[in-house]
Structure formats: structure tokens, C-alpha cells
């Protein structure tokens, strides 16, 4: 079922990671993406993987949910790693026609897989431990300088937070529409890929119609609750940096340093 997608969900809690400043978490996540693509040998890859594992453990969220979050992307991971496997250069270990597997290809496949998996785990860690409101609040604060060039910072943040809020609702609705169309004889599972994509049209059309209707309702509800844009709004949960955040940043810097040192000392594998 579409509904048990764990990706992008938030699990309320009080762990160390939960209590980090959301702005810090976003900045760290961006830095993390850069670092993970700067890993060129197994030692540095290991450091990043260890760093990721540490955060996952500290978040105190059952690994079950992390695994679940990967389910969706599993296909992409497999696809890219298999593709990379055959794209290596050098002497083939195994060859069949034009398809060949080389050590270089295996290395590439491993790197791509580990990088993507770490990336998904880290982004899950971010969304699992940060409420959508906190996340968008942080984005709004981080983008504040853009206000100078008349970028609608508050509006973008509000839209993002509403979009995140309605992900589960719309997924639930997709399930219902699919069931309704199946009950009327629509075939969702069978056929070749093109037929399957076509079978989605009768699901997407009602979904869009209802999403627009919802949007109208939400706008009304927001106006009823005195929403009139970002000016003069306050927040219940004010966010501020603390020692915890500094410690997290230091940890990230150490990881970066470790990766750089390994890259210098050990020849790169890819």
C-alpha cells in the first residue's frame, strides 16, 4: 500500500537529535551531501558511514522505520548500482559479449550504493526528527536574506509546510481512489509498463480535482483563523542554537577533516 511510505514522516521524540536546532540540522545536511560526494576511498566512505550510523543511533528511532524509508528508493539504488557495475574501465574479470565486469566497476557500484543509502538515511534522520513546522520555520529563517531581493520567503515556507502536512492525507486519498477504480474494474497491476502508467490516469485526475478542492477549503480555514501573511506572526516554539548544536558541528567538521586526510593519504578507489 502507498500508505506505509515512511519517507518524509516525523516521529515526535525527545532525543539529542530531536533537540538540535532545525537550522543547524539543515546546514549540516547540506554540508553532509557535499562531504559524501567527496569520499574517494573506502576509508573515507567508512568515516561518513560511521558518522551517519552515529546520528541514526542518537535519534532513537527504530531502525525499522529507516529500512522502510529505503523501500521506496530501493529500485533506484539497485538500478544505478547495476548500471555502474558494467560501466567500469580496465581489465574485465567477467565478460559476456559487450557486457563486462571489472574491479573498477565493482568499486563504482559499491560507492554509488553506499552514497545513496547514506543520503537517504541522513535525509530520513532529518525529517524523522524535525517537525515539518520546525523545518519550514528554519528554511524561512535561513532564507531571510533573500527578502532583500523581494523573494517571497514566508510564502514559500508556508507552502512547503502545507505540502508536507498533506503528504499523508493525499497518500491516503490515492489509496482510496485506487480502490474505487479497482472496484469498477480498473487494472492497476497487469500489463506492460506503458499500460501501467496509463492506468494511473484515472487515479491522478480525481486526485488533482480533490487536491484543488482541498486547497480552497484550507485557504478558508486559514482565513477563519486570522491568517494574513507572514507580517506580525509569532511562533510558539522559538528556535535557538545551543551547546548541543556546536558539538554536532564539531563532529561534522571532524568527519570532514577525516575524509580529507584519508583522501590525501590513501589513493582513491574510484
Amino acid at each position: 500500500m502507498v500508505r506505509d511510505v515512511a519517507f518524509g514522516q516525523y516521529f515526535p521524540g525527545n532525543s539529542l537529535i530531536h533537540r538540535l536546532d532545525p537550522r543547524g540540522k539543515i546546514l549540516m545536511f547540506i554540508a553532509y551531501i557535499v562531504i559524501i560526494f567527496c569520499t574517494f576511498n573506502y576509508a573515507s566512505l567508512g568515516i561518513v558511514a560511521a558518522f551517519t550510523a552515529l546520528f541514526i543511533i542518537l535519534s532513537r528511532i527504530s531502525p525499522k522505520f529507516y529500512l522502510k524509508s529505503m523501500k521506496v528508493i530501493l529500485f533506484i539504488v539497485l538500478f544505478t548500482s547495476v548500471l555502474n557495475l558494467f560501466y567500469g574501465t580496465g581489465d574485465p574479470i567477467w565478460q559476456w559479449g559487450i557486457i563486462k565486469v571489472t574491479y573498477d566497476g565493482i568499486n563504482r557500484a559499491v560507492f554509488v550504493t553506499v552514497r545513496i543509502v547514506c543520503l537517504i538515511l541522513a535525509s530520513s534522520c532529518l525529517t524523522f526528527t524535525t517537525s515539518p513546522t520546525a523545518l519550514t520555520d528554519a528554511i524561512e529563517r535561513l532564507m531571510k536574506p533573500l527578502k532583500a531581493i523581494r523573494f517571497p520567503v514566508h510564502e514559500v515556507a508556508m507552502m512547503t509546510s502545507l505540502a508536507l502536512r498533506f503528504v499523508p492525507t493525499l497518500l491516503e486519498e490515492t489509496d482510496k481512489i485506487m480502490a474505487a477504480q479497482k472496484a469498477r474494474g480498473a487494472d492497476m497491476e497487469g500489463g506492460n509498463p506503458i499500460q501501467r502508467v496509463k492506468a494511473l490516469v484515472p487515479v491522478l485526475v480525481p486526485l488533482f480535482v480533490s487536491a484543488f478542492r482541498r486547497a480552497y477549503d484550507i485557504a478558508t480555514a486559514m482565513e477563519c483563523r486570522c491568517y494574513r501573511g507572514g507580517a506580525g506572526r509569532t511562533r510558539m516554539k522559538s528556535i535557538h542554537m545551543s551547546g548541543r548544536d556546536a558539538a554536532a558541528f564539531v563532529l561534522l567538521l571532524l568527519t570532514l577533516a577525516g575524509v580529507i586526510i584519508c583522501n590525501i593519504l590513501i589513493p582513491s578507489a574510484v
Partner: protein, 281 residues
């Protein structure tokens, strides 16, 4: 004391420049609602009751006539937000009024919009959630709650703005019987214990019976209004307009038709049983 006063209200959704004849959604309604009252508005779909509800907090403005809320005219644009602070509106679909991914953050949305300072917001949110018995769920995601719970969170969201009056537009229409009871009991409690004025738009007669006053609408007009006893004893009138009466009243009405002597029309089951017992002696 008059809290809301509706004077000769007309409203139509049609474009005014459209030469074709159009039907008024609200067609000459005058009504006053007192502070602390519990008023139920009943009627068919399309009778104008939802349109009326949206006039009470300036979501819609009259084509002609006036709506005065606590001394302020809703057409006065400088007062719009003051009025919405005093009159909260809860809509039918609970899913579409919760704007945040966490219950307490959703309840905080209203006071945040008003620029209330953080400590005070926290206090209001906790209080509002306790008032609707949803405090234990403050960290849950709204989509994991039942319909009745979601609707109670929506009510808390309005309560946190600290309005004097709550208008609810068919809040129980999408709920199961359990959810309906939860919402109804919450409303009665808020009305009795906190003196909040409640205007409940509904098409469930069993809910209307619990109000202080019932207003029956049909084709944009007020058909009749009065205490539940007064309204539901006019069984013929309601039947003529294809409106239901509470089951107990219906039974008593039919028994009367068969010659059973009942001096008044009962509204709730217990009352009905007692009266029938007496009649049988």
C-alpha cells in the same frame, strides 16, 4: 444581551452583472443571537445555512442587510480581523482545516497569526487542548487521529484564538456516531462551563434537540424558530418541508394520530419512555 444581530440579510453567489434571474442563497434573514446561547440551525442541503454561517465571521459579506457582531458591522473592512478573533468558524471536513503536521502546532496556528508572544501561546494551546480532552495527543500527527478527534483538534484551534462565539458548519457530517457524540459533548461542555456562544449548523435533529434554541431554514429563509420543544412540536410544518423530527417526537406524533392522548411531544428517548409509561396506565 445581543451578541450577533442579523438584519434583513440577502446574499447570492451569482454574479450581479449576470442578467439571468438568480436565486438568493440567503433570502431575507433576520436573527439575533445572545451571548452564551447555544443555537442550532437546521435545514436541507442548499437551504442557506452554511452561507449564513460564513456571514457570521465576515468570510462572506451581505449583498444587502447587515450583520452586526458585538457592535461591529461585518462590512467594515477595518474590523474584519477583530470579528474573526471574536467569532471562530469550524468547517465540515476536519482534514482540510488542520494546517500543521503536529496537533499542538496546529492549535498554535491561530494565536501565532495574532502575534501573541510564545509563552502565552503555549499556555493557550495547552488550555485549549485540555478543554477538548485532546491534551494527551498534543504530539501526534493529525492524520493518525480519528475523525472525532480531528474535529476536536479543529475546535481547539479555534478556542486558542479565545473567541466569544464558535460557529460550526456541519462539524459532525463526516463523522461516525462515536465521533459525533465526542464533538457534541465537547460543544455542550464549552457552552455550559465557559459560557461560549455556540452556533451549530447541522442536519442531525438529535443534535438540534440539545440546543437552547433551534432555527429552521428552508430556501434561504427562516421557516420557524424557538426552543426545541416549540419547534419540534410543529411536526406537520416540518414534514411539509421534508424535514425530519427526532425519533421520539415522530413516534409520539404518530401515536397521537392513532388516538393516544399525549399532552406534549417528547424530544429524547428517556422522556418518551416515561410519557408512554404514564399514558399506558
Amino acid at each position: 444581551m445581543n451578541f450577533i444581530s442579523i438584519q434583513d440579510l440577502y446574499f447570492s453567489y451569482a454574479d450581479e452583472t449576470d442578467p439571468q434571474p438568480h436565486v438568493n442563497a440567503v433570502d431575507g434573514v433576520s436573527l439575533t443571537i445572545d451571548k452564551g446561547e447555544f443555537v442550532a440551525v437546521i435545514g436541507h442541503n442548499g437551504c442557506g445555512k452554511s452561507t449564513l454561517a460564513k456571514h457570521l465571521n465576515a468570510m462572506l459579506l451581505p449583498d444587502s442587510g447587515k450583520v452586526i457582531v458585538d457592535g461591529d458591522d461585518t462590512s467594515d473592512e477595518t474590523k474584519t480581523w477583530d470579528i474573526r478573533e471574536r467569532v471562530g468558524l469550524v468547517l465540515q471536513n476536519p482534514d482540510n482545516q488542520l494546517v500543521a503536521g503536529i496537533v499542538e502546532e496546529d492549535v498554535a496556528f491561530g494565536p501565532e497569526n495574532l502575534g501573541v508572544e510564545p509563552g502565552e501561546i503555549r499556555r493557550r494551546v495547552d488550555e485549549a487542548l485540555k478543554a477538548v480532552d485532546m491534551y494527551e495527543y498534543r504530539e501526534h500527527a493529525p492524520h493518525k487521529l480519528s475523525g472525532g478527534q480531528k474535529q476536536r483538534v479543529a475546535i481547539a484551534g479555534v478556542l486558542a484564538i479565545q473567541p466569544q462565539c464558535i460557529v460550526l458548519d456541519e462539524p459532525t457530517a463526516m463523522l461516525d456516531p462515536n465521533g459525533r457524540d465526542e464533538v457534541m459533548n465537547t460543544l455542550l461542555k464549552l457552552n455550559r462551563e465557559r459560557g461560549i456562544t455556540v452556533v451549530l449548523i447541522t442536519h442531525y435533529m438529535d443534535e438540534a434537540v440539545k440546543a437552547d434554541r433551534v432555527v429552521v431554514m428552508d430556501s434561504g429563509r427562516i421557516l420557524t424558530h424557538g426552543t426545541p420543544e416549540e419547534v419540534f412540536s410543529q411536526v406537520e410544518l416540518l414534514k411539509k418541508h421534508r424535514l425530519d423530527v427526532p425519533q421520539a417526537a415522530e413516534l409520539a406524533y404518530r401515536l397521537r394520530g392513532c388516538g393516544v392522548k399525549l399532552d406534549k411531544i417528547p424530544l429524547e428517548a428517556d422522556e418518551c419512555i416515561k410519557m408512554l409509561g404514564e399514558a399506558m396506565k
